[in-house]
């Protein structure tokens, strides 16, 4: 018999009933540790939102002030690019935060 065969024969060991019961009870009754609220993620989200608001305001004021047509186009382009980039950054973060929120657990 090769070493690999010897080891493979020991791969599984049935869990004794008492231990199995102890672990299952823990799995059914212990509270899940919910993911801690991610403050850095929240801060990043707020920073993205604030910068976006400032950029939009700048673009609007440029347009309102009747700046040269090219100026308005540049501002619009900045807003569009910024919107695209910020959604690429913030959407996955927001989705992850949403997914991390544990569901209301039914009574065990």
């Amino acid at each position: 018999m090769s070493i690999e065969q010897m080891l493979r024969k020991t791969a599984e060991l049935p869990v004794p009933a008492a231990l199995d019961h102890r672990v299952r009870t823990a799995l059914r009754t212990m509270p899940f540790t919910a993911r801690r609220f991610a403050w850095p993620v929240m801060a990043l989200g707020m920073a993205v939102a604030a910068t976006l608001a400032m950029t939009t305001a700048m673009a609007l004021s440029l347009a309102a002030a009747g700046a040269a047509e090219s100026g308005v186009w540049i501002a619009t382009l900045v807003v569009v690019v910024y919107l695209g980039l910020s959604s690429v950054v913030s959407l996955p973060l927001l989705l992850r935060l949403k997914a991390a929120r544990p569901k209301q657990e039914a009574a065990v």
Partner: protein
């Protein structure tokens, strides 16, 4: 359709206890088999087994399915718990009287004498060969033993081993190779492997 481990782990992360229990059912026997050979002691293996599942529950939120499948992550938790246990037992036992300074092997062997290991017959090996295997494993350095067990006992790929032991894939290959070589040397009279 049967849920994959990954899907179950995602559900469990969101607080689905049924999914966690299904994962437990899938991996429990293999995990206990691994812990027993890693620790060489049934009582320790069962204690660590229980602790591992508690730890899994507590740290599922940190598990990132995108970084790898569930099994290597589970065995990483188990390997860390087993190593912690061995170190704790080593501290409790104090330095071995007959170990020369710097002789790690002697310390390890004394720490994990396979005293109350399960009957090897129950695991499909004859009693003598089972004991010889336990003793040979006891002589392996901790990391090699871990790598050899994950590879040859649990059938993991090198990529999975590298994930479980948190070492580069090449290091995992080296650990497995050296460990298996040492095992073959010690079990030369039992094994029909060629040298």
């Amino acid at each position: 359709m049967t849920d994959t481990d990954l899907r179950l782990a995602r559900k469990a992360r969101r607080g689905d206890r049924q999914a966690l229990e299904t994962l437990y059912d899938r991996h429990k026997d293999k995990l206990l088999g691994y812990l027993l050979k890693m620790l060489g002691n049934r009582q320790s293996a069962e204690d660590v087994f229980h602790d591992v599942w508690i730890k899994v529950m507590q740290s599922l939120a940190q598990y990132r399915p995108a970084q790898g499948s569930f099994r290597p992550w589970l065995f990483r938790v188990a390997a860390n718990a087993a190593v912690d246990r061995m170190r704790k037992e080593k501290r409790r036992a104090g330095p071995p009287l007959d170990a020369p300074a710097g002789d790690e092997t002697s310390e390890r062997v004394i720490d994990r004498v396979p005293d109350d290991a399960p009957s090897p017959e129950a695991q499909g090996l004859g009693s003598e060969i089972g004991r010889a295997l336990d003793q040979a494993l006891a002589h392996l350095p901790e990391r090699q033993r871990n790598a050899v067990l994950l590879r040859h006992q649990q059938g993991m790929s090198y990529k999975e081993i590298s994930g479980a032991l948190q070492v580069p894939e090449n290091t995992a290959k080296t650990l497995v190779h050296r460990g298996a070589l040492a095992l073959r040397e010690r079990l030369a009279s039992w094994s029909d492997d060629e040298h």
